[in-house]
Amino acid sequence: MIELLTYVFGALIVVSGLALVFTNNLIHAAFLLAFCLLNVAGFYVIHHANFLAIVQILIYAGGILILLAFGIMLTNRSENGKVLTKNHLLFFGLLCAVGMAMMLYALITNPKTGTIEAIQSVEQVTQIGMRLLTQYILAFELIAFLLLVVLVGAAFTGKKSYDA
């Protein structure tokens, strides 16, 4: 069952990902990205990473993607009501893709990285909370500080400048 679902979600991720790359319509690309990210969340669920799946939905599909689509909505449309795009920077894009593929290949073939036995659902949240506030407290606090700086920065940039 898990294997079958893995193939279903995998196929959906690949199809939506490819469609997202090859479409010219920017808003279609944004919604295909949402579909792709939701399928990744499904992938997490079938491998018992429930918390990660929820975070994936909340942050990527519910947060970042909506900001992205919101940005597209505020741009100008062409005469036929579409926002079209073309492929630019093919060389650097290809470079990034090849680099990413090599990195993934290195990770998969590396014997040191592998699946650690899954922690069950109820324990998961407690475990994550405990580790975040003990083992990874410095990183956690630094990220919190960074987000605060970003928030203040965004509020400052968004403010109407009275002296201009």
């Binding site: 918390f51 909340l58 947060g63 909505m73 949240v125």
Partner: protein, 318 residues
Amino acid sequence: MEVGPMGIFQTVADLLKMLQKEDLIPKAADRPIFLIGPILVFVAIFAGFSVLPLTSETAGAAVGSGVFLLLAIVSLDVLGILMAGWGSNNKFSLFGAIRSIAQIISFEIPLGLSVLCVVILSQSMDLQEISRQQGVYSETPIYLFGIRSSGVSVTDLGGILSWNVVRSPFLIVGFLIFFISGLAESNRAPFDLPESESELVGGYHTEYSGFRWGIFMLAEYGMMLLMSILGVILFFGGWNTPLINVGTLRFADWTMGVYWEGFWLMAKALMLVFIQIWIRWTYPRLRVDQLMSLSWKYLTPFALLLVFLSAIWRLLMF
């Protein structure tokens, strides 16, 4: 002109009428997006119902982080509204969608924070566990107003005394924040700017007709019911009875059991739905700037303060 005694079949009749109508698609609309939008709104909101516990024995998906999942899935309905607003290729729809998204994203913050208060106090994100802690089935002793040093244990009294709003009285403010944000999340008056008919015709669903329009309307009411049930579970004891055991009159024990529990949950939730409808016909609509300042300048700071208070309450009193 109502169907049935006191018009109770009116909604059913309306739906039957809408099913028969033609599914109009504007010529200039972005066809696939226009068609998928309402379905996504429907799926997002009705998937939220999947984690709700109805009685102590009947519950939806037993997800350890249920309330978190619920908020995450419900936040996806913004995507559907965005699709509807953009796909219609109509300026009223686009403005409606932009307003709706700005509103939902802003009010998700106080909503999430007020839910977080309850999560801190009950130390669980499982909705069934949160419900169980607020009644006679609680495994940990409950003290009057949560004050352990008073030594007054109300665990076997049960009823209203063990609900979260009574266990930690400041949660009544948390509930107010939750309720106001919930109204805004479901685009109900006084926060119905996205579909304000005097300015935007119909907002993001201007171009829809027939069944697809019906989905938007029912999704709004579904969201109201979902928010009400969630509010009842988090603050008003979920499926627990409000009656208290008095000596040999075991009112709380008598009114618990699968059917009673379902009755209490739905009765309390429908009460909140009634208040939501009542508010709609009582208050005028807010302006956009008032809406934003309500969320960012009043609700969010108060909600942050409440999260802080909940943490302290948890440390001192439990």
